[in-house]
């Protein structure tokens, strides 16, 4: 029966498949569907975006890339149209920028798939550790199977569950339905080793869930059957309707037995208020219903509500199937048919029996899509077949049988999955789906196939020696980076890219608009901490610090620059602060100094330890010590207390000079402040050694001739002389005291 399908058709050679993969896109651009290939250019790419700028002539263009896949195009008026306005247009490259789509479904999928991806990567690491320690870890494909099931469940859109008609769903939901269909198909053929013996039943399950995606119109077999059921439920004799028998035949062909039995039990012969004698007819209907509900099925278990008898052991199934087939044949040849006078019932039931006996003509007649015919063929004609046995040949024959000569991309992809043409599968998925699909499905493709693992994980010439797996993750991360709500997911995928992931993460972090956004900066710093990107973290702190400083937030600026550990900037900053506080004695300067004083107190001891800024702290201490002296004097404090305060001020003074941290241009004003200490009445506060340090400073100033450029008020010759005289007198006094 099925032999006539098996005709040899030449398959793609590996070389051709590789060429297809190599010529494919890295990052797919789907265009906005407005078509741009105006020229008769056969080589022109199919993906085009039309931007409606509405400007006269051919405007000048300037382009700039935003983060991720955003392209910012400046349309500037042509030179002869100078009176026209210019426009900046934003183009979101990739599939998300279609009208009516806001990308919410894509973002939901991105956020919900992340934990599963992370879990699988973590399992991979643990498994590697276990293997290294000589353990016997679980088969990898079992982990991938769990990952696959989790993702598949996640792909069911919450909004689509509440929609009764497929036509209600958005384009985004339809796309995720198609992605899920292909995902589940990949799981059957690339992941689930246990499913190999019972793959015909997996096809049945797949059709139940994903049949609608095959239909180009809104109708599908599932929808059709539900409609018939609703329409005929109120009829007294539904068997008089041709839809009743056609629907049942279609359902039986693709293995939806619960539908068939429900339909059969709706048969008018079951009614008690019969005028005619229909016992025999009813007996035949019931016999077929029993046969259908008892059909042996090669699968470990049945989903709730499904009919048939499951057998997981193939020989046992074969025995039961033969026995069941004999019963079907017996019923078909039974003499009771002669007593059935309802022609519609007779023909309808006979058709169902023909399906159960695997009559190819009938199967072909009651299925509409070639994939339904293929499923029916495996279920009723070759239930023992394994997945790899001429599947693609049979599928091609089914297509021809259904006169489906031109394939769409989705059908080509399904055929490639059937034929184990992984290169074609990859090339098609890159074109058909969002980068999410490629970044996640690599795990499925490589679950149990060493050849595919080599294909996807081998380093290639592209992008300077990265594998396809890494390329697809980078591409996905780039699309995540396009949106402020998803960029934070990108680091996880980038961390799984061993060669270029961290490089891209650095680029992404450095492009974030965080100078004005403290929360975003803190998030970015968290990412830097997790992935040990110290230099980038410091650059971020520097950005925020300088921005804060230049926009009047002095304290925040200092704190961020301290985090950046940028001594050069901190020194420059303290230099500016000091200049603003010490360059004069006006009220404004005093206020500035008071501000600095408050700032230094606020920042505490940690601030003191930071290089560059320590001068501010020391200067504050010195000024405070002087203030203390003046306060004590005003209160007529005793001599001892005054002397102690004087000595404290000297210590602060010397701290400003010992390590050379104070810029020379401030020395003179500090030395002038110190005159009071040098001329301390009754006691020498600075000893000879300490005085010499200050004298050397004055000498250095003279040598550098720095006072030429400084404030006239403070650096008149008399000021310098006054300091020198005070130092000389103190030196003399200190010698005498010694």
């Amino acid at each position: 029966m099925g032999g006539e399908f098996l005709e040899d058709t030449p398959g793609d050679s590996t070389l051709q498949r590789m060429r297809m993969l190599e010529a494919g896109s890295i990052v797919p651009y789907h265009g906005n569907g407005n078509g741009t290939n105006q020229e008769n250019d056969s080589d022109a790419p199919s993906s085009g975006y039309t931007v409606k700028h509405g400007m006269r002539g051919t405007p000048r263009i300037q382009i700039s890339w935003g983060t991720g896949n955003h392209l910012l195009v400046s349309y500037l008026p042509a030179l002869r149209e100078q009176n026209e306005d210019g426009k900046i247009m934003e183009v979101q490259l990739g599939p998300a920028d279609e009208e009516g789509q806001d990308g919410a479904e894509s973002r939901r999928i991105a956020a919900c798939s992340l934990p599963f991806f992370v879990e699988l990567q973590s399992r991979r690491r643990h498994r590697t550790d276990e293997t290294l320690q000589g353990g016997n870890p679980t088969d990898w494909w079992e982990y991938v199977l769990k990952y696959s099931r989790d993702i598949s469940d996640m792909l069911v859109s919450p909004t689509s569950l509440t929609m009764h008609h497929q036509s209600d769903s958005t384009k985004e939901n339809k796309m995720s339905a198609v992605m899920r269909a292909i995902w589940d198909m990949l799981e059957i053929f690339y992941v689930d080793k246990d499913a190999e013996p019972w793959f015909p039943e997996r096809l049945v399950d797949w059709l139940v869930t994903h049949g609608p995606v095959l239909s180009k119109t809104e109708s599908s077999l599932n929808r059709k059957l539900v409609d018939i059921k609703e329409r005929l439920a109120t009829r007294q004799f539904p068997e008089e309707e041709s839809d009743y028998w056609d629907g049942m035949a279609s359902a039986l062909a693709v293995g939806w037995f619960d539908f068939v039995v429900t339909f059969l039990r709706m048969h008018g012969s079951y009614r008690h208020d019969q005028i005619d004698k229909r016992q025999t007819e009813n007996g035949l209907v019931e016999a077929v219903a029993v046969l259908v509900s008892k059909m042996p099925r090669l699968r470990p278990s049945l989903p709730a509500g499904s009919l048939g008898t499951p057998y997981s052991f193939k020989p046992e199934f074969a025995k039961e199937w033969e026995r069941w087939r004999i019963q079907v044949t017996k019923l078909d040849r039974s003499s009771f048919w002669n007593e059935c006078h309802n022609k519609r019932t007779l023909d309808g039931l006979k058709k169902l029996l023909a399906i159960l006996q695997g009559n190819v003509e009938v199967l072909a007649g009651c299925t509409s899509h070639w994939l339904e015919l293929l499923t029916a063929h495996y279920l009723h004609v070759r239930p023992f077949a394994a997945a790899n046995e001429s599947l693609v040949v049979l599928a091609t024959t089914c297509k021809e049988y259904k006169h489906t000569l031109a394939s769409d991309e989705l059908e080509e992809l399904i055929l490639a999955i059937f034929g184990d043409n992984t290169e074609v599968v990859i090339a098609k998925c890159v074109t058909l789906f969002e980068p999410w699909m490629m970044a996640h499905m690599v795990e499925l493709l490589t679950a149990k196939n060493l050849y595919v693992e080599n294909l996807l994980r081998k380093e290639r010439d592209v992008q300077g020696g990265i594998s396809l797996e890494e390329l697809y993750r980078l591409s996905y991360a780039q699309s995540l980076a396009s949106h402020p709500l998803t960029w934070q997911l990108a680091p996880v995928y980038l961390a799984a890219c061993p060669v270029q992931g961290l490089g891209m993460l650095e680029t992404l972090l450095l492009k974030l608009p965080l100078a004005d956004d403290r929360h975003l900066a803190l998030k970015a710093l968290d990412v830097c901490r997790i992935y040990d990107l110290q230099a980038v973290g410091e650059a971020i702190c520097r950005k925020v610090g300088v921005h804060s400083w230049k926009h009047g937030r002095i304290g925040a600026g200092i704190v961020w620059l301290q985090r950046a550990r940028d001594k050069r900037l901190l020194s420059a900053l303290s230099d500016q602060l000091l200049a603003s506080a010490s360059a004069g004695c006006t009220l404004e300067h005093v206020q500035t100094f008071e501000q600095i004083q408050g700032l230094v107190d606020l920042l505490g001891m940690e601030f003191q330890a930071t290089g560059g800024l320590s001068i501010l702290h020391r200067y504050r201490n010195f000024k405070s010590a002087l203030q203390n002296i003046w306060d004590l004097r005003s209160k007529d404090a005793d001599r001892q207390k005054l002397n102690a305060a004087g000595r404290q001020a000297v210590d602060c003074l010397l701290e400003l000079f010992v390590t050379g941290i104070t810029p020379k241009r401030y020395w003179m004003s500090i030395l002038q402040d110190s005159i009071e200490l040098l001329e301390w009445p009754g006691q020498v506060l600075l000893n000879a050694e300490e005085t010499t340090i200050l004298l050397n400073c004055l000498q250095d100033l003279k040598l550098a001739k720095l006072w030429d450029g400084l404030d006239n008020l403070e650096l008149t010759g008399s000021n310098v002389d006054r300091v020198r005289l005070a130092l000389a007198i103190n030196l003399g006094r200190s010698f005498l005291q010694t």
């Binding site: 190599e22 494919g24 896109s25 890295i26 990052v27 651009y29 741009t36 105006q38 022109a44 993906s47 085009g48 975006y49 039309t50 931007v51 700028h53 405007p59 263009i61 382009i63 700039s64 935003g66 983060t67 955003h70 910012l72 195009v73 400046s74 500037l76 306005d85 210019g86 900046i88 247009m89 183009v91 979101q92 490259l93 290639r460 010439d461 592209v462 992008q463 300077g464 020696g465 990265i466 591409s475 780039q478 270029q500 961290l502 490089g503 891209m504 650095e506 680029t507 608009p513 100078a515 980038v536 410091e538 650059a539 950005k543 921005h547 400083w549 926009h551 050069r568 420059a572 500016q576």
Partner: protein, 324 residues
């Protein structure tokens, strides 16, 4: 996809800051307009500041590295250039303040670009005399004082041939930042009437000899590269080689170059793609995406084309953006 900003008539040049949150536009009346969303909001872009930067038209405008705050440099039709930064003034208002005006330049400035190098902030300017001048900010916070670090000719004999050779435009592109710091390497191309000078060249600063030296010339005898309109150095997130795109009056060319390895070493360059797809052939600009995987080129034909390498390393057009 949609209109983001409407610019006033008379716009000459636009430039986005690194995080694409602010756009600066140089105007034909010498003013500069900055567009950004209202501070602290996600509102639409609007013109937040405008000021007269030059007496005549602003020809080019560029943003400085964000580590130095909001910083803009622009050059005008009179050949001078100026540097501006946004700060908070005494009245607690954000204002754009002049940092420096470079009026003593010997030849009109055709292009300028900031570089954030380990040694500090640099500003390289390409002059109409075919010379490159590299300025360095003497202070990391106060960007008022700039000193000329180096001046050198892009082609040795341009000055002698100045009578015959004239540079009408130039383009500079620094090697993008890696690990937050930019190396002192840039590529420059001049738009001249002399074919032998229309070669994009890569210059690197040798720390050992403290001078700029030529690292590579992006040329090959097989093709005519026309007059250079724009050069663009691709971000490198881990490739073992660099990528540079050169847009010219007749083609777009994509070059690979070994990573500069120090003074005295010429880097090997290789032409990866030569395209004349833009009609009538003039390519005005090309820009790389954030990871250097896709190149977008803008043609005088009003079309933006997107280029990618396939898995065999061959560069192909993969999409286009057409205005209508």
């Amino acid at each position: 996809m949609g209109e983001l900003i409407r610019l006033e008539a008379g716009v000459e040049h636009t430039c986005w800051n690194s995080s694409r949150t602010k756009l600066a536009a140089g105007m034909s009346d010498g003013s500069v307009h900055v567009h950004e969303p209202l501070k602290g909001t996600n509102s639409d872009f609007s013109c937040s500041s405008r000021w007269k930067a030059h007496e005549v038209a602003v020809l080019k405008i560029v943003w400085g590295p964000s580590e130095y705050g909001d910083l803009i440099a622009c050059c005008s039709k009179d050949g001078t250039m100026s540097v501006w930064e946004e700060i908070e003034d005494a009245a607690k208002q954000d204002v754009w303040q002049l940092c420096a005006r470079f009026t003593d330049i010997k030849a009109p400035v055709l292009d300028l670009q900031f570089g954030h190098c380990a040694s500090g902030l640099k500003l390289v300017a390409a002059g109409a005399d075919g010379h490159l001048r590299v300025y360095e900010a003497t202070d990391v916070l106060e960007l008022k004082r700039w000193q000329l670090q180096a001046e050198f000719a892009n082609a040795a004999d341009v000055r002698e041939k100045l009578e015959r050779v004239s540079c009408t435009d130039a383009s500079i592109s620094w090697r993008p930042v890696a690990d937050a710091i930019q190396q002192q390497v840039f590529v420059v191309g001049f738009h001249t009437n002399s074919p032998q000078h229309s070669i994009a060249k890569v210059w690197e600063f040798g720390e050992t000899h403290q001078r700029w030296h030529l690292v590579a010339e992006l040329s090959s005898p097989e093709h005519d590269y026309g007059r250079i309109n724009h050069v663009s150095w691709a971000p490198n997130i881990g490739r073992p080689y660099e990528l540079i795109a050169v847009s010219s009056s007749n083609s777009l060319s994509i070059w690979s170059m070994d990573i500069p390895s120090g003074p005295g070493h010429r880097s090997a360059v290789k032409l990866l793609g030569y395209f004349t797809d833009h009609q009538p052939g003039e390519v005005v600009q090309a820009e790389w995406d954030m990871c250097g995987m896709t190149l977008a080129s803008a043609g005088a034909d009003g079309v933006v084309r997107l280029w990618q390498s396939n898995l065999k390393g061959r560069w192909e057009e993969k999409g286009r953006v057409v205005g209508a």
